[in-house]
């Protein structure tokens, strides 16, 4: 990745999604989705499978049609534009490299469709391949490349057309665990260098947290919360976000805890400590203990629920035993009362 001559897009572009509803037959896939993605932002759609995140991405690319609402690219409604007029680069989960074309041909495709002069095409193909470090592989067929290399070809093919925004549909899901860490760093570095507004679809919170500026957490077709990874972790707006990002203990009326109507008590395992039973509202028997090295994780039964408490391990410290009744102490600022 030596030459960084790839021209930056003239200006990063913002995306506005307003009041989008989308159904396939009787299945309501997207419900009242509103989102603002700032120019140059690395943005994630994060959620479990079936939450509508890929459909939302496909809506932006033009492969899905919404029943209501608008998608604005740089302030312009894209609804009347077919996929091939949108200038929205998408990297597919399967990469969708055409097996009958060489790497160079794959990368040249979008430029040829734009009827650019041959010289210009050759120059931009060379640049794009250089950018992803695959210049030496230009003449190969996709089937002759490793998964990581195929992924880079897919990225090169997409950025070669200098799209207004870059859409990445679970780009790491077909790579092995070790590759994922290095490829996601590469993706982040590339995005920073190009300054390209990028949307990254994933079900993996670690991927989203590590490379994205902001995340929209989605569940069952709705956006549950939007924020930076830290905001979402520290101040989740609801139980879904709290438990989807990191582990969370959730207690309610049924566990003999007083909570405001319609809300539950939420806290992170590492924010609680085990204490004596006296004067503590949360108490119960230890049901499991797991030694994790740096920390010790206890499971404590409280009312009808089981909560986790992680305490730092100090050499020589005596551990609680399964069956011991313990108190669970929580600093008040760590106690969150959240709606469902």
């Amino acid at each position: 990745m030596t030459g960084m001559t790839m021209s930056k897009p003239a200006r990063a572009v913002g995306i506005e999604i307003a009041d989008v509803n989308l159904s396939y037959g009787s299945t309501h896939v997207l419900k009242n989705v509103d989102l603002t993605i700032h120019p140059g932002e690395f943005f994630a759609f994060l959620g479990p499978s079936g939450c509508g995140k890929t459909t939302l991405l496909r809506l932006i690319a033009g492969f899905a049609q919404a029943q209501t609402g608008r998608v604005l690219l740089d302030g312009q409604d894209v609804a009347p534009l077919p996929p091939w007029r949108r200038d929205v680069g998408m990297v597919f989960q399967s990469y969708a490299l055409w097996p009958h074309m060489t790497v160079a041909k794959n990368v040249a495709f979008g430029l040829e469709e734009r009827r650019l002069p041959r010289v210009e095409i050759d120059r931009r193909v060379a640049e794009a391949l250089d950018l992803v470090g695959l210049t030496a592989y230009a003449g190969r067929r996709p089937a002759q490349l490793s998964g990581g290399q195929q992924q880079r070809v897919a990225v090169a093919r997409t950025i070669a057309i200098e799209p207004k925004v870059l859409l990445l549909d679970e780009p790491l899901s077909n790579l092995d665990a070790k590759m994922r860490v290095s490829v996601r760093r590469e993706l982040r570095a590339l995005q920073q260098r190009l300054g390209l507004t990028t949307i990254f679809v994933t079900h993996d919170q670690e991927e989203a947290n590590t490379i994205c500026d902001r995340i929209a957490v989605m569940d069952a077709g709705t956006v549950r919360q939007v924020g930076t990874p830290m905001e979402l972790y520290e101040n989740p707006a609801n139980l879904f976000v709290a438990s989807f990002l990191g582990s969370a203990n959730i207690l309610g009326d049924g566990d003999g805890i007083a909570v405001p109507a319609g809300k539950r008590l939420v806290f992170r395992p590492q924010h609680a400590t085990l204490s004596s039973v006296d004067g503590v509202p949360l108490r119960g028997p230890v049901t499991h203990r797991e030694f994790l090295g740096a920390t010790v994780r206890y499971a404590v039964r409280i009312g009808g629920s089981e909560i986790l408490v992680e305490t730092p391990f100090q050499s020589g410290a005596e551990l609680r035993r399964v069956g011991d009744t313990v108190g669970v102490a929580l600093p008040p600022e760590r106690m969150l009362y959240l709606p469902a």
């Binding site: 690319a61 091939w84 680069g89 055409w98 009958h100 495709f109 979008g110």
Partner: protein, 562 residues
């Protein structure tokens, strides 16, 4: 050890029996043909003189190029029919797609020679279409003139091979392949040409090469259209008019084999490294979109025109079978049931023979195909792959060549009472069986591959011997697949002609296809010939339906319903 010994002894005996069968009824006849082509007439010396004679005889050279031309043009026209249909049905939400998928395969139930005469009457110089064209617009189209007639008929009959393969290949393309292209700016026909078509190329080549070989090897269709200057008809005419000692028939046979093998080899070469299906994940096929009203009208026009062509031989045959006199008029002068009375009376021997031969041949195919599949997939018998290869080479042997080979190889072999082996009807059955064996073999493979080996291992684990496992587990689970294979073999065997044509010695031993061929030669016999044709189509159509049913039921029985 002792047990393993008897087991492989049994397998070896089975393999030897199959090898003997293939040797006697496939390898020896074909080898005889090749040997005779390379030996001096009358003498035994090896020579190339026969091939020189072939190359020096203007008639043969012309016939060769005619055959190449007709086969190539058939591929072109068949592609022209198949491409729009494949594009329409895989790419659009199109109500007519169902129509194409069912009626489009109609030609497969009737080999081209069956409808040849009927098509003359519909599309010939003085056929219905040209009479009407002449009356209304004052011109005629030479659909059926000379080689054009053969091309026209063959293209109508064989385009489904291309359609089936091409549609399947198009449907197997991962949707993201196309979406990625749209995302990068391609759409419409250009997208189809740059992405979908190249990815479906393997399917297209497979279909096209099959069509080329089938047309190149066809004897009866050109002859019924009175086209003699093609290679396969020349082989037939040479042997029947000059005799089985004349080397030219054998030389032509070798040329036919070489062209068939070369075509298959060339298509394999083109397809090498293009097995795209395995490189793709997921599925879904191409995204379909709705047609706009004007596009829809155009699509229906294309489909209806093609379906009209597809149905023409069937309609013509049906009309002819009921016609009193039909010549120089768009429709027959009058209608009668007399032809059916005749073929169900006097000529019913043809139907009886066909049912007997086709069921025997299909039975042999299923047993041998099933046994080869089992030996190859489930045993470690050395050389088992050879059985598969040997059986599959039948694909490259034109029917006429097999017939000539039988005639030459078995004519000298006499039964104790002095009748030559080659004149017995059972030889016809064997020829048909060998011709259909590759298809039955594929069906058996498919059926056996769907059965997990662990099912057999479980039976052996619980105390069943190999033989009992086969009987109690393998055969019951394969039944549906084998039954489908049987019925398909039966259906295609019922209309097999090219191998049969040369082997039939007397009318009393002749199957339906032969009777039809003979009757169709004379104007007086046409009606009866057409009635036989209609009966053949009905038999084949019923069988195809049954085969589909058997395949569906066995899928469901194994819980493979999808």
């Amino acid at each position: 050890m002792a047990l393993a010994g008897t087991r492989s002894a049994g397998q070896a005996a089975l393999a030897l029996a199959i090898a003997l069968f293939l040797g006697v009824f496939l390898v020896v006849p074909v080898a005889t043909v090749i040997y005779v082509a390379f030996t001096e007439k009358g003498g035994g010396a090896l020579t190339l003189i026969n091939f020189l004679d072939f190359a020096r005889t203007e008639l043969f050279v012309r016939s060769f190029w005619n055959s190449i031309y007709v086969s190539a043009m058939t591929v072109v026209w068949a592609s022209a029919l198949a491409l729009p249909l494949a594009y329409l049905t895989t790419r659009f939400e199109f109500r007519g797609a169902m129509l194409v998928q069912t009626l489009g395969f109609l030609p497969l139930v009737m080999p081209p020679f069956v409808g040849a005469v009927a098509m003359q009457l519909l599309f010939g110089r003085n056929g219905s279409v040209n009479l009407l064209l002449d009356e209304w617009f004052d011109f005629k189209i030479g659909f059926m003139e000379g080689l054009n007639g053969v091309i026209f008929l063959q293209a109508i009959h064989y385009f489904p091979f291309i359609l089936v393969n091409l549609s399947a290949a198009l449907r197997n393309i991962d949707r993201s392949m196309e979406e990625a292209a749209q995302n990068l700016g391609a759409h419409g026909l250009r997208l189809f040409r740059r992405i979908a078509l190249p990815l479906a190329l393997p399917g297209y080549i497979a279909g096209a090469s099959l069509v080329f070989v089938k047309v190149f090897d066809d004897v009866a269709t050109p002859l019924l259209l009175n086209v003699k200057e093609m290679l396969a008809p020349q082989a037939y005419l040479r042997i029947t008019s000059i005799g089985i000692d004349d080397p030219m028939g054998y030389v032509i046979s070798v040329v036919l084999i070489v062209v068939a093998v070369a075509t298959m080899w060339a298509s394999a070469l083109v397809l090498k490294g293009k097995d795209y299906a395995t490189t793709q994940r997921g599925g879904g096929g191409l995204a379909r979109r709705k047609l706009k009203p004007r596009e829809q009208a155009l699509a229906y026009a294309v489909v209806i025109l093609i379906l009209a062509l597809v149905l023409a031989p069937h309609v013509g045959l049906l009309l002819l079978s009921f016609a009193t006199v039909w010549s120089f008029s768009p429709l027959p002068d009058g209608y009668t049931l007399a032809h059916y009375a005749r073929v169900l009376g006097d000529s019913s021997v043809y139907i009886k023979n066909t049912l007997l031969y086709a069921s025997l041949a299909a039975g042999i195919d299923v047993v041998i195909g099933g046994a080869i599949a089992y030996l190859v997939l489930r045993t470690k018998l050395p050389g088992r792959q050879w059985l598969d290869w040997a059986a599959s080479t039948a694909l490259a042997v034109p029917g006429i060549v097999l017939g000539i080979g039988y005639l030459r190889a078995f004519y000298g072999v006499n039964l104790p009472d002095g009748t030559p082996l080659a004149t017995l009807w059972i030889v016809i059955v064997m020829a048909i069986a060998i011709r259909r064996l590759p298809y039955a073999l594929r069906a058996a493979y498919a059926a056996l591959q769907q059965i997990s080996v662990s099912l057999e291992e479980a039976a052996e684990n619980l105390g069943a011997t190999k033989a009992r496992t086969v009987r109690r587990i393998v055969i019951p689970l394969m039944t549906g697949g084998l039954l489908a294979g049987f019925v398909t073999s039966f259906a295609t065997a019922a209309v097999e002609l090219s191998a049969v044509l040369i082997l039939v010695q007397s009318n009393s031993d002749a199957p339906l296809a032969y009777g039809l061929y003979v009757l169709m030669q004379t104007p007086a016999g046409r009606g009866a010939g057409a009635a036989l044709g209609v009966i053949a189509v009905i038999i084949v159509a019923i069988c195809m339906g049954l085969a589909q049913l058997a395949a569906d039921r066995s899928q469901r029985a194994r819980g493979l319903d999808i």
